[in-house]
Symmetry: C2
Subunit: 198 residues, 2 copies
């Protein structure tokens, strides 16, 4: 009632953003209209442009506007080492560590039978095509350490082994800098079970 129709529609439209409720959307709308019309204009343009041009890399399925992404194009990456992640944000997180020099395959999330999300929905058919090429020697399963992420990792591990390719899983345990007093029991149990000789 206190907002004009157009302002109300902008507030509604902003709620499409993840983590933005009615109050934040209202704050964003007022901020943009009162102080950042240039930035809002640029955001509108970038949204339109990105929606039109950004697609998926034909090989690893990460987001990019070229047929192949920069990582798949890079001749210096180890093509025998394939890391599987649940989404592009996870790919970015692993890249930021600087410790991985192989290539990636980006799933569309994880398996979730309860929501009707099966293997073909997360891109397993495309993964099979990559494995059939025969260059991959090891698949690193870097799905989340959640129930769904673990289930997805197990499913893919079975698939990978059927191609006689080695499947590995990223380590679970106490985070670096973590205080044992505040670590949950499940993590600590896993850390104990997976202890390594030093």
């Amino acid at each position: 009632m206190a907002f004009s129709p157009l302002v109300k529609q902008l507030i509604e439209a902003l709620r499409v953003l993840p983590g933005v409720g009615p109050k934040s959307a209202q704050r964003m709308a007022f901020y943009l209209l009162e102080r950042e019309r240039d930035g809002a204009q640029r955001l509108a343009q970038m949204l339109s442009l990105a929606i039109k041009q950004v697609g998926k890399c034909e090989k690893c399925r990460s987001l990019c506007e070229q047929p192949l992404c920069a990582i798949c194009e890079n001749k210096n990456r180890d093509r025998s080492l394939l890391c599987i992640v649940e989404g592009p944000a996870h790919l970015a997180a692993i890249e930021q560590t600087g410790g991985f020099h192989g290539i990636y395959f980006v799933l569309t999330g994880h398996l979730s039978p309860i929501d009707g999300i099966g293997p073909e929905d997360i891109g397993i058919n495309e993964l099979v095509a990559v494995l059939e090429e025969g260059t991959v020697k090891e698949v690193v399963l870097a799905t989340n350490a959640t129930v769904e992420g673990e289930a997805t990792a197990y499913y893919i591990a079975d698939l990978v082994k059927s191609f006689n390719i080695q499947a590995t899983r990223i380590a679970h345990g106490v985070p670096m800098g973590g205080d044992l007093e505040y670590i949950d029991g499940g993590t600590l149990a896993k850390a104990l079970a997976d202890r390594a000789t030093v």
Copy 2:
């Protein structure tokens, strides 16, 4: 490095939103590109449309796409009672209480001499024009209870009184439902000083 140029630019553009840092912007960009292209398209359209069409009400200076906003157009509002707020979000908050039936005047924030923001920057000249019309009998100062909001209220109170119009300030004190144990000293002191006979 891990993002394609267009994705990187979209992430940068999203950071114009208040309260959105690099991590949230990244999450938003991926979410929109992966799952909400329709919503993102609609957001882009609404941003462009709102920037083009939403201006300020000629009378109260709240955001609207018509020359006059719905409140200023409404013949049932009490035009002798003028409430002054720091921004459209505050107008919305007061409207939502349903307890105010006068009209509004929306400042562009508050006075802040240290940032070079003086009376003409927050719309005092336009306020004077409203006061000169002679219909307003009482001005309710509903600026924030911050140092700047208080200073702005005092400044406007002086101005209002020079027109022989009554100036009132919204009450400060213990919030409804508030536990005295957790109220800050300043608020409690103010609540004591402004105590009323029951």
